[in-house]
Symmetry: C2
Subunit: 415 residues, 2 copies
Amino acid sequence: MVVSAASSLVCRNCGAQVPLRPQHACFECFGPLEIGYDTAALARVTRADIEAGPANIWRYAPLLPVGQDPDSRVTLNPGLTPLVRADALAEAVGLRAPLWVKDDSANPTHSFKDRVVSTALTAARGFGFTRFACASTGNLANSVAAHAARAGVPSMVFIPHDLESGKVLTTAVYGGDVVAIEGSYDDVNRLCSELTETDEFEKTAFVNVNIRPFYAEGSKTLGYEVAEQLGWRIPAQVVIPMASGELLTKVDKAFAELVEIGLVPATSWRVFGAQSRGCNPIVTALHSGSDDIVPVKPTGIAKSLNIGDPAAGRYALESVRRSGGWMDDADDDEIREGIRLLAATSGIFAETAGGVTVAVLRKLVASGRLDPDAETVVFNTGDGLKTLDAVDGLVGPTYRIRPSLRAAREAGLVG
Amino acid sequence: MVVSAASSLVCRNCGAQVPLRPQHACFECFGPLEIGYDTAALARVTRADIEAGPANIWRYAPLLPVGQDPDSRVTLNPGLTPLVRADALAEAVGLRAPLWVKDDSANPTHSFKDRVVSTALTAARGFGFTRFACASTGNLANSVAAHAARAGVPSMVFIPHDLESGKVLTTAVYGGDVVAIEGSYDDVNRLCSELTETDEFEKTAFVNVNIRPFYAEGSKTLGYEVAEQLGWRIPAQVVIPMASGELLTKVDKAFAELVEIGLVPATSWRVFGAQSRGCNPIVTALHSGSDDIVPVKPTGIAKSLNIGDPAAGRYALESVRRSGGWMDDADDDEIREGIRLLAATSGIFAETAGGVTVAVLRKLVASGRLDPDAETVVFNTGDGLKTLDAVDGLVGPTYRIRPSLRAAREAGLVG
């Protein structure tokens, strides 16, 4: 059995280290903790090790903090989602180099959250937690409830009361508890932090609160997969939607690790971030040249990105600035048009977050921030079936006729 | 380049043979045509050939009539969907042997239709058709529109006007024409047959009409995958939902082929069919000991199975009778309960057709028709996100509270 190369929790703020355990904030400075690795152990991992693994995220188990033993996994086996060449989309937005869509709507509950939930809950069971929980804008709740059902473990998910009805039904159907909170995601998150301090929730793992470092680390697999699917190389540019900002930082971290341990050539890459106009605190900070993320009260249709006080915003800014990338935002009409454009050119139906990313891709090309001659990967993190309201009224039947040739003729379908 | 082992179209009724071409009915007797193979060529295919192929249906290209040349494929690359061990579901329905769910909601447009559309449209492009079309209960329309968008080919799909809104939006978003017909699926299908005879539709491939043999053949991949995923062996029992009945017959055909060409041990298997109470003409024929399928006017929530005049019903009866299986049906309440049970025990959220199959599985165990001590595979052919209406009102938030510890306490979440 391969053991994990993870060695400690490291404070992203002050660098303090503590042992691997269910802890998310540094005792020294209250900064966020992330997983640290024994670099020598990571460096022993080969492409062949990975390629011999299963066709899901667990092929990267040697690069993750948990899941080395297959029997330890609490998982729906997400990952190895399609990397789709999108020539027609490239042409539509003015890119001349190859464009790819990394389509995470193909995961078991149809969002990238299955990745982070699989690593978080595998850690949670290992630490002895007996109930699974989360604060969620919807996709995460879906995934936690589904994972819990598969594993036969009770779950309790906390969501804002005004979520898309599809996301609520899809979560509730798995039979766990669903708690609708009369407030924003940030209110939900705050309540969950408070609940972790109560006796009743001592054995409850909130995937994105008290075991957050193990949760966040699952996002690295998106970066690993893109590199492997391109034939073990890193694309020149990536465009990534931002809610907490964590996904962006972890894809960047994954690329850096692959270079560091020699699994890909040491090329450079630029990281671009996308938010919706209704919740753009990270974009605002970048555009104003500030390090301070000023929290906002989110509005707009891209609910899965509506985190007004983004926990990893500061680190997302760092990744984007260090790599020479940029960020931009898209309003609701642009988001809807982004969904339609992606669907019509690539056959991929994205949720609102995907619409944000495609709309921002287009803006970044138009503004000259993104090099139209450099290979680019955009990330679709969720499925259009989860946010049907966004396209309701925008698209629909083009004809409605009675079932006869005569009716077809009158409608102009035949001459 | 491997050439196809397919050699002709063979009439399922009179055995007459014609060359491979866009034709679905026998000129001699009007019986349905299906693909015939050069058995010697099939017999040269090895497990290693298949295992070396891509992680999708095209790994079985040597056993299919089209797609041997990767550049010829019109496809979203569906297939190799999860085969999920479902111990908790087995216990709930009274099975003592291993139970598996073959989960085709994991396909790109989240139903098994991606398989048949990929083989049909690959054939269609090869035959020189320049527009893609179908008569659909919803899932097929989704898939045809998405495939057409990816391939950059115009599409026109015909659907009953009263489909679930999710299925309509999901189809229309891809930008092709969507024609809503004021009638049943059988009316839609009849109109499409008439349209294929018009000049305007001469170059239009209706995947399930004028190129139906190539379409139906794609369903074989579900059978191949189950056998390969079980380690190259055939399960003792399979439970399959029936609309036209074609899926059931093709899984049975796939198993027979694998035995014939020596890729699996020559074990026996029993085939079970599932319909909804609102559209059960094949079940009715079996239960009354008749060979005649009497068409019905479909009702009920399982719209993807609502084909009142099932084209392959007679052959489904043959498969079930020959193999010693059985069929049963489930009413709308049982279907909803089937959806809920599958989700809560396995983490798989199925559309109504999956609810039908699980409900019928339970009945077949209870009635003693299905052996509770024999390994069983049930087929989930579509995603719960497509038929959310079915669970609306059945499940929902278990609590609704303000965002405070005090509110959580008042609701009984903490002491």
